[in-house]
């Protein structure tokens, strides 16, 4: 299997996630309005293909990796599985006790995959650093990419708000922008601290 460079992999994941968000904002809401079962189901499942593509990219990356890379993937996936399990157990008990409304439970289910991806990426990066990987320059380029994504999500939030004023959709995009901005700030800070430590 041909090994994709980390940049090529990240670029493909980010394009897929941008498609996912666009579908979630503009196509998926049609599922609520549709009345017939078939179009309703089709609209409801439109966000799934980009996520399947991301899962395929992740599987491809793991399969094409060498033994150390596969070990760090395994650590990342193990930590992510633990985090998602805890999230599922807590959410499940809260939903069963009717603390969460059915709408909140459905929204919580949608966040399982993003949670898995974020925890997996963080845990894998931590494991790779323990083995001497992930240099400061990689942090810099990743921070820049997160900054671009934050700007894109902020623009989407503003556009949705101005166009049809759907508070839920605008809030989702604004929330994603804040998360991306937080990731960019974290990576930039880490890069700065590492450079300082290296210079001393």
């Amino acid at each position: 299997m041909i090994r994709l460079s980390p940049q090529a992999h990240q670029r493909r994941v980010m394009i897929a996630m941008a498609v996912y968000v666009a579908v979630l904002l503009w196509v998926w809401p049609l599922a609520r309005a549709a009345e017939a079962a078939l179009p309703k189901t089709a609209y409801a499942l439109t966000p799934v293909p980009p996520l399947l593509y991301v899962i395929w990219l992740m599987a491809r990356r793991v399969l094409a990796g060498d033994e150390l890379e596969q070990r760090t993937h395994l650590i990342g996936l193990g930590v992510a599985a633990a985090a998602v399990s805890i999230y599922g157990i807590v959410g499940g008990f809260l939903a069963a006790a009717h603390v969460l409304t059915p709408e909140a439970s459905a929204a919580a289910l949608v966040w399982i995959f993003p949670l898995l991806v974020v925890v997996y990426a963080a845990a894998r990066a931590h494991a790779a650093r323990r083995y001497g990987g992930a240099c400061a320059d990689a942090d810099a380029s990743a921070a820049l990419r997160f900054l671009y994504l934050a700007a894109i999500f902020a623009a989407i939030a503003a556009w949705v708000h101005l166009r049809h004023g759907d508070a839920g959709d605008a809030g989702l995009a604004a929330g994603m922008a804040v998360v991306m901005l937080g990731c960019a700030a974290f990576l930039a800070l880490r890069q700065r601290l590492r450079r300082r430590a290296r210079d001393e």
């Binding site: 990796g65 060498d66 033994e67 150390l68 890379e69 323990r130 083995y131 001497g132 990987g133």
Partner: protein, 65 residues
């Protein structure tokens, strides 16, 4: 475990990237092996021995434990 991978690589004038390409692993993996942060599997240790044309026991030395 201690190893002599870096010395052998530098003797041959190879970069970490060159060695990674010969072993079909990432540069980070070569770096992790050289710095002693990662002990390679037996198949990878044999590939290293083949690339350097040295016996495995010459490449690796057992550590204190």
């Amino acid at each position: 475990m201690k190893n002599h991978i870096r010395e052998l690589r530098e003797q041959r004038g190879w970069s970490q990237g060159d060695l990674a390409e010969k072993l079909d692993v990432s540069r980070q993996t070569v770096n992790a092996i050289e710095t002693g942060k990662y002990d390679p599997s037996l198949p990878l240790a044999f590939r290293l021995a083949k690339v350097f044309r040295q016996p495995i026991e010459f490449l690796f030395e057992p550590g204190k434990d």
